[in-house]
Amino acid sequence: MEIVICPFCGKENQPESETCRYCQARLMPLKINPASQPDLIGRSPEEETPAKLKEDQVSESQDGLQAAGEMRRSGAPPASEASDWLSVFRNQINTQDLSPQPAALDDGPQPELREIHQDFEAGAMQDDSSLSLPFEDAGQKEEGPPENLVVGPQDVERTGDEAVDDLAWLRELQSQYQQVEGLSSAESKKGEDWSAANELSQDSQKRGDEQVPSWVEEIYAGPLHEEEAASDLGLSPAELPSWLDATRPSGTHQDIFGIPADYGGQVEIAGPLAGLPGILPAEPEIALGRKAAAYPAQLQVTETNRLQAEIFDQVLQSEGQNQPNPDRGLVTSQKVMRMAFAVIIIFAILVPVFSLQTLERYQPIAPVAVLSASQIISSIGNESPVLVAVEYEPGFSGELDAALAAVLDHLMIQGAFLVFVSSNPSGPLQAEHIVAVSNQVGSHQYVNTESQNEYINLGFIPGGPAGLRNFAENPRLSNPSDISGEPAWQNPVMMPIDDINDFSLVIVASENQDKSRAWIEQASPLLVNAPLIYVVSAQSEPLIRPFFDASPRQVQGIVSGVIGSVQYGATIGRQGIAELYWPSFNSGLLAAAILIVVGGGANALLVLSANKNGRKKGGN
């Protein structure tokens, strides 16, 4: 899309715009309306008098709204139509009395100007006398310079200050002219056509120039004919040095700038150079519409910046990708050490198995928590419903199976009716597993068949703590059937149970502290008569012990790990599966302790030696 660049403000405009929509500068040459300006049509450049040129220059510089560089052929006057009131005003000026008023020039121009100003403000142009322009009067009437401006031989020796005082009337004339100009501008700002005001000022200036006395023309023309004046004074042209003359362009400005030969006939009609022929055609090329510059979309950066950006992009890209582990080779010292540790531990565990070594030594005294649990279970009668919550993962079967099997063995000996439940999805199967393990310990065989129902597996309790609370309050509603889908509460042992407090004993087997705590928090408040015993792993014992040490006790007994199982078996005089585990457990534990001591000591010596060598090197 073509656009037009405003030569004044540099902003883009539509190609059909006549004026800039930002600064209101004219973008297209002013068109001539022959009907409104018939007197300006057909005039050749030669017919343009210097006075006329001056008139155009002054008028164009006054309005300040026409674009600089607007060119037109000489003889094409500006086409600005004046409004009616301005036409009336122009006629009034033409017909007014422009007789000179020396007194006014010297002493009293200000009252007249104020009067003119008031008339402009009021918009009333009825009094011709109020429109008299002193400087125009002076131009019409004065054929020669005023007496005080005539420079006689006797005045040549005047000082500079006196000469300035003699030109005071000229400065007043200029100020008066500027005030009249200001009044015209003020009127134009009130909503009148700016072009009409411009025309008015042009006309008034034209009349002023037409009536300017000859001595004023001499003053104006003086600088234009400087060379003639210099020759008249007998001054010869300056002789330039050869080097300076060589730097001057050999051709004319038309040759240099590629201006057509007939361009000198064109007269500038706008801007500060209005009225002068042969102005360099700067603006037409600037104002010509052209396509917007196509700036490259690629960021202009240096090579270093580009490399840094690529590195940064690679870092960002690599954030979301899995970085492969560095290839350290198949055999490294750490791998060897890990393998050695594993071999030693496995060897220590297997040696007691193959040597059939029996338990060397039992823990002589069972802790209070184990004794309490054993005493509680010993008080359980036959067919007493005991709730067993199996809450441990299959991975901890090695430790917790041994501990729970000892307790279940005792319960089976007591003839308790076991009710298994779990809030762990794998808990129901783990319950079946531990029953099978417990059956291997003793001579009892707990089964759950249609003909013989010695335990029941209520299955999974969903809902986490809320499910536990719901089960504790109403187990019938929470788990109405067992894991096989058979009705669970039709057994005679189960029928009197309405809540968890109706069980004779509640046992929780867990290695997870959160699940252990959930059972205490949700079920313990409802357990008024039924004791609560925990079978936990060795790592969880410290987490449960505070509830056992509390007063009153929230947990009435604790059996922890393989050691607890051995101790519990010792309390009832039975040897459970913990007895089978103990030699390997003891041997593996001893091997682990030795490895930690030896390996830790060796590493400590290496570190100390390295530090010592480092200090020596640093000291040297």
Partner: protein
């Protein structure tokens, strides 16, 4: 918070449910409503578990279909899931075949992982001096060794002193630390419950 009416509905339901269950603890006459709310919670949780299983299978099935990396593991999971499901559905959850899968696959695999973990922990303890050698490392290693020696029974060696020291550590230091943790957990639970009750915390979204 954006003015989404659905969010206000969620907040209202959450606050009403929590307040109902909480009030049910203080007024036995409202225990029926509380129990009903707990039943709903249990049912919703069970449904969520089912949805989780379906999502797990769907995710791994998509990995297989899209030939993504490590799709072999996804294939193993799909086969294991399908086999276990078929065995449990056809023969029952506590049948012989189901227990065979549990006793001979699940328990050994998970126990092996814990066995490997034990070996790595022992190795890490031995190399701890190499990584960081300071007072706290000495305290940690010393405590571990004393606790282990307290469990040991070595023929011909009297370790009663280690046993007493281990019991002292377990009943004093460990219990004291755990009680502090339990107090913190309790206070945090109360604060979290209150935040949910007043709608300041919305874990359900919004």
């Amino acid at each position: 918070m954006k003015s989404n009416p659905f969010v206000y509905l969620l907040v209202a339901i959450a606050i009403a449910s929590g307040a109902t269950v909480l009030v049910g603890y203080f007024f036995p006459s409202l225990a029926g409503i509380k129990g009903e709310m707990l039943d709903w919670a249990v049912i919703f949780t069970a449904v969520l578990l089912l949805i989780g299983v379906i999502s797990l299978v769907r995710t791994h099935w998509r990995k297989i279909m899209q030939d993504q990396k490590d799709r072999a593991y996804s294939l193993v999971l799909i086969i294991s899931f399908t086999t276990t499901l078929l065995v449990a559905v056809l023969s029952g959850p506590t049948s012989k075949w189901s227990m065979w899968l549990y006793n001979n696959l699940i328990i050994p695999i998970e126990s092996s992982l814990l066995g490997i973990l034990a070996v790595f922990l022992i190795y890490a303890c031995a190399r701890l001096f190499n990584q960081r050698m300071n007072f706290y490392t000495l305290v940690f290693i010393g405590t571990v060794l004393l606790a282990m020696l307290g469990w040991l029974t070595i023929p011909g060696v009297e370790l009663e002193g280690f046993k007493d020291f281990r019991d002292w550590l377990s009943s004093v230091w460990a219990v004291a630390g755990v009680r502090g943790i339990m107090l913190g957990v309790g206070l945090g639970t109360v604060a979290a419950g209150l935040r949910i009750l007043i709608g300041a915390d919305r874990p359900y979204g919004g």
